[in-house]
């Protein structure tokens, strides 16, 4: 739990310092520093638009012109003949820079440049979303002229263009700084937007027969341009939800040519990017805006609170802007150690769930007569919950299912509550595919491990091996860091996966094509325990090099033997390792012992000394010794009556490996207490529902996958209670003082669990399961969750949902042909519980594998098929006519 940064990994070789003079002040900066940034270090602000510290220099806007003189070979200072763009020139020893503060030439150049930029910039600041926080507005005031000499008609384009359902483009406002296109190319790697018609003429191709220079997606209809120039490009498609200055409907953007089904988003447009929201934030004018925030507020309305994104385990820094009790937008925070200045669109746009109509506001209990849930007071609800739990504890006992979205503090309260109040080790945070092997692996390799691999390592490690992890879908910030390292030529990524996903392609990853379930064999081959096939020898050698990092996703838990094989590989190679879960609370839950075999701080329940340690901190005589059950065990025991009562936290049944069994268990449970933010599928089985504060209504700490504490503050003043407060009240009613009233109390106790020196849980050693025998027409199921899917965290945000990938089934071309599926055809994938029908996209992959999105619209694998990854499913072609 201690934040111990690995010094050796973050050490950077010292860089030579050089000295230059800016506005008469001497400044020393590391060699290679740009002049504009050297000026910043002494507080001299040079106006700029295209310059961004995380993007490569472009010199596109020409706003940062300064006067520069450099010493020649004899040491005589020689001035450059014209003002230079300070964002593209590196500082050199003895350079003399005069900015607008000391050089009339630079001042005049900047003033002239801003006048040029404003020539075609519309005067629509009052209706522009950027108004009030616009670099162009600000720098026109600080470095521009008060009046314009321009009297002609400004250049205009049809607007706004909907590039995706979320991102809107206004070409009139664009100053062609190319921050957005450089972000797309350098950071995200998506062909999202680009600069078209560079050096071209006027709108409509009136100058030189070329389209005007503009940002876009090479949509011929929008460019009013066809390469042949003969046939008309046709009318642009229009959208009914926005209008332009003439009252005309907005334009929908497509891209030139066919892009194939896979790259379409759910709105039927070409897929944009999972990171497109960042372009809105870095746009220095209002050219790119988001549909979700369109005309919602002004910067001066907003109250900003720094926070941490709750959607994945990366712990990205965000800024939550709210107005009068409503969150209106989230922006990326600036945290160089974690997410730099980028966040995923999910972190940025998916916050409406916190204010959806199904948010619980009052405790609910069952009406004695009707059996319906009715709102009641906290005191009555707590009394009823305590009474029900006491009855269960006198009977067969109770268990806890806290879910994986808790803060560290809340998870700790759950852990303590389960052991002290429920008197059991039956607790499991894993609301997903899991195994006893995984629990052992987490106990031996992850729990109490501190920070070993950090984000910075992902930029520097010579080789990163991904197992059971698709960073772009499951941990977007990791993807961006890996890509940054890869583009810098330092990192080479290898992934063990059934197919080369788009994310892997953008990482230029070497794909060790592995059918789902075969991961143990590949990992064992790499560790040399079963002999290494020829094509893996290079990789095996690379893994032995110092600095190699292995990242394993939570999905490996679904493959018997995979984590055991991974443990053997890590031992054999000595590679550094990090476990990357999907949910924000998973790593914290491991640290505080929300597993049947773990106590806080990585202490195994089975160790008597560990139990004594923990009992000492908690001030109790002894802790329950009986080994606990995991989630499946708890649900099975509830169905069979071995457990009477369940205390359930934030769990979505659709995430569980068998949602149907979970429903049965919840229905069979004698007493169910639910602690949730929103009504869920569990609510209908609950006897007492206790409302919990969402992340904007509480403060706390997420532990991200690195193990880095990510504390966040409360956005709203509220009377909503956290899990720890509610569990404390419940324990009080049961006669136990949990001591979790404040975060300070919890942190004080958590600090006492640092540093377990005793024996740890042994590494798992589970044999790999034999591959299922495939009959004709069968294939093994590969599946993982996409970043934007049917998850409840994305509810209430249609603009974001439209930018998700359109769900498709991936098959190898040979399999598709063998099934008789033509291009654009559909496949029916059948499991024991039901069928999923999706369009097929032929993809290079194993012939005996089919990939489905795990929980996307029309493809809820666990619930519909009733199987998990690796299982055999039946494939059949769907007659296109019938499917329709």
């Amino acid at each position: 739990m201690t934040a111990t940064t690995n010094e050796s990994s973050s050490a950077v070789a010292p860089v030579e310092e050089i000295t230059l003079t800016i506005d008469g002040l001497d400044v020393s900066v590391p060699k290679g520093t740009l002049v504009i940034r050297a000026a910043e270090t002494i507080g001299i602000q040079i106006p700029r638009f295209c310059d961004h510290p995380l993007l490569k220099p472009a010199g596109a806007c020409r706003q940062c012109l300064v006067d520069i003189a450099t010493p020649d070979r004899e040491g005589n200072l020689r001035a450059m003949p014209k003002p230079q763009a300070s964002c593209t020139i590196e500082a050199t020893p003895g350079m003399v820079v005069n900015t607008q503060h000391t050089s009339p030439v630079a001042e005049k150049a900047q003033r002239g440049q801003i006048e040029f930029l404003l020539v075609n910039h519309p005067l629509d600041c009052p209706v522009c979303d950027k108004g009030g926080e616009c670099p162009l507005q600000n720098q026109a005031m600080s470095n521009g002229s008060a009046t314009s000499r321009f009297v002609d008609i400004k250049r205009t384009f049809p607007k706004p263009i909907k590039i995706s359902t979320q991102i809107l483009l206004d070409r009139d406002r664009c100053i062609l700084c190319q921050r957005c296109t450089r972000f797309s190319a350098e950071i995200a790697g998506d062909p999202f937007i680009d600069l078209q018609g560079r050096g071209g003429g006027a709108p409509g191709g009136h100058g030189h027969g070329l389209p005007a220079q503009q940002i876009g997606r090479f949509d011929e209809a929008i460019l009013e341009y066809t390469p042949s120039g003969e046939q008309s490009p046709g009318e642009s498609e229009r959208t009914g939800d926005v209008v332009g200055p003439y009252g005309q409907a907005g334009v929908l953007s497509s891209v030139a040519g066919s892009i194939g089904g896979a790259l379409e988003d759910t709105s039927g447009r070409p897929f944009a990017s999972y990171f497109s929201g960042n372009t809105v934030q870095i746009c220095p004018v209002g050219a790119l805006t988001s549909a979700a925030y369109r005309f919602r507020s002004r910067p001066f309305d907003l109250v900003s609170t720094p926070s941490i994104a709750e959607h994945d385990a990366c712990g990205s820094a965000i800024r939550v802007d709210h107005r009068r009790g409503v969150v209106l937008r989230r922006l990326a925070g600036d945290d160089p150690a974690v997410n730099e200045e980028w966040i995923t669109d999910k972190d940025r746009f998916a916050f409406a769930w916190q204010t959806s109509p199904d948010v619980l506001t009052a405790p609910l209990v069952r009406d004695e007569e009707t059996g319906e849930l009715v709102p009641t007071s906290w005191s009555e609800a707590i009394a009823l919950a305590a009474e029900g739990l006491r009855k269960a504890l006198d009977g067969a006992g109770a268990a806890a299912l806290p879910g994986g979205r808790l803060t560290l503090e809340d998870a700790y309260a759950w852990s303590k509550f389960t052991r002290l109040t429920l008197g059991t080790n039956d607790v499991d945070f894993r609301a997903r595919v899991h195994s006893a092997e995984e629990a052992d692996f987490l106990a031996s390799r992850v729990a109490g491990g501190g920070m070993d691999v950090i984000f910075g390592d992902l930029e520097r490690a010579p080789r990163v091996l991904l197992v059971g992890l698709e960073p772009e879908e499951e941990a977007g910030t990791i993807f961006l860091r890996l890509r940054k390292g890869m583009l810098a030529g330092r990192v080479r990524v290898t992934t063990i996966a059934p197919l080369a996903s788009r994310g892997s392609t953008k990482l230029r990853a070497d794909v060790v094509r592995t059918a789902p379930g075969d991961e143990p064999a590949v990992l064992d081959a790499l560790s040399g325990s079963t002999g290494t096939p020829g094509d893996l020898t290079d990789l095996k050698a690379a893994l032995a090099e110092p600095g190699t990092v292995v990242l394993a996703g939570e999905r490996l838990a679904g493959v018997p033997g995979a984590l055991s094989a991974l443990d053997r590989l890590l031992t054999a190679t000595g590679a550094r390792f990090a476990w990357v879960p999907r949910r924000a609370g998973d790593r914290g839950a491991v640290e505080v012992g929300l597993l049947p075999g773990l106590l806080p701080g990585g202490r195994p329940t089975a160790q008597a000394q560990a139990r004594v340690d923990v009992a000492g901190v908690w001030g109790v005589g002894e802790l329950p010794t009986a080994p606990g059950r995991d989630l499946t065990g708890i649900l099975d025991a509830t169905t069979s009556g071995e457990i009477d009562a369940l205390v359930v936290g934030g769990i979505d049944l659709a995430d569980l490996p068998s949602p149907a069994d979970a429903e049965v268990a919840l229905a069979a449970a004698g007493f169910v207490v639910q602690l949730e933010v929103r009504r869920s599928a569990v609510t209908q089985h609950a006897d007492v529902v206790l409302p919990i504060a969402s992340s904007t209504h509480k403060s706390g700490t997420f532990l991200n996958w690195e193990g880095r504490p990510r504390p966040f503050g409360q956005v709203f003043t509220t009377s909503a209670l956290t899990d720890s407060r509610v569990l404390g009240m419940l324990a009080d009613a049961l006669g136990i003082d949990l001591g979790t009233r404040t975060l300070e109390e919890i942190h004080r106790e958590l600090a006492e669990f640092d540093g377990w020196e005793g024996p740890r849980t042994g590494a798992p050693s589970v044999p790999a399961a034999p591959a299922p025998a495939l009959e004709a027409g069968q294939a093994r199921l590969a599946t993982w969750r996409l970043m934007l899917d049917s998850g409840r965290g994305q509810d209430g945000e249609p603009h974001l949902a439209g930018t998700a990938y359109r769900p498709v089934a991936l098959l190898s071309p040979a399999t598709a042909t063998a099934l008789g599926i033509a291009e654009g055809g559909q496949v029916r994938v059948s499991g024991p519980e039901g069928d999923i029908v999706l369009p097929v996209l032929p993809t290079p992959m194993g012939d005996d594998v089919v990939w489905l999105p795990q929980h996307s619209p029309g493809s809820s694998v666990y619930r519909t098929l009733g199987v998990t990854a690796g299982a055999a499913v039946r494939l059949a072609a769907v007659d296109a006519e019938v499917a329709r």
Binding site: D124, P126, P245, S297
Partner: protein, 269 residues
Amino acid sequence: MAEQGKGKKPAPGKGRGQDRPAQPKRPAAGRTPARATGTGAGRTPTKATRPRAEKFDVDSDVEKSGLAQFFAPVAGFGVTMSTLFRPVVTEQYPFEKKPTAPRYHGRHQLNRHPDGLEKCIGCELCAWACPADAIYVEAGNNTPEAQYSPGERYGKVYQINYLRCIFCGLCIEACPTRALTMTNDFELAGTTREKMIFEKDTLLAPIRSGMLAAPHPMVSGLSDGDYYRGDVTGPTTAQVAWVEERRPDDESLSSAAAAATRGTGGDEK
């Protein structure tokens, strides 16, 4: 309103100073007592240095002349007597209402373009300018099916809290489309705090004869800038037809249709 433009007269009904017609605020009255000069060591005594005790010095009566002493008991009626022969300043408000000055800062109004579209674009600059934080605006997104103002944006929620408003008029100066102006209506009283928060439906200018109630499309071919420059002078037949199709019962239709046929609409480009 009673004192407007009559600053020279003392405010009636103040009660104090009935027996001292010369107010201490008017040192030019020449009643500076001799004793006060002695304290100033040759300096002209100012209001600040004048000893307050002299006002209540009963011995000062001894110095008055015989005539003054004679009228002393009724001297306080001097103002009363003289006022009897001056014009009456009392206004019989609210029975008789007097017009205010033409630029009087009264209740606000959100204006419309001649074709009935709202001028407000929901930019919130009025709220930004307001020193009393009395204005609350939420903007909305115009769509082809619901165009309330020319261009992309309109004011969806518009509230002015008249318990906060100080009628300074900075909001009017800030408005980029001349949507917000002030009327001469000063009768702003209410029985609850809620009633004193005026919503958009109260603030919006009424549909005048010849206007077409929003929402409806803009005049074809004209931009929001053309509206601002006054190129639109009334609804067009196309706009009337659009409303007729969607809201056949709209009350503004008949006069708007008449105005459209007269051809007062903007020049379609």
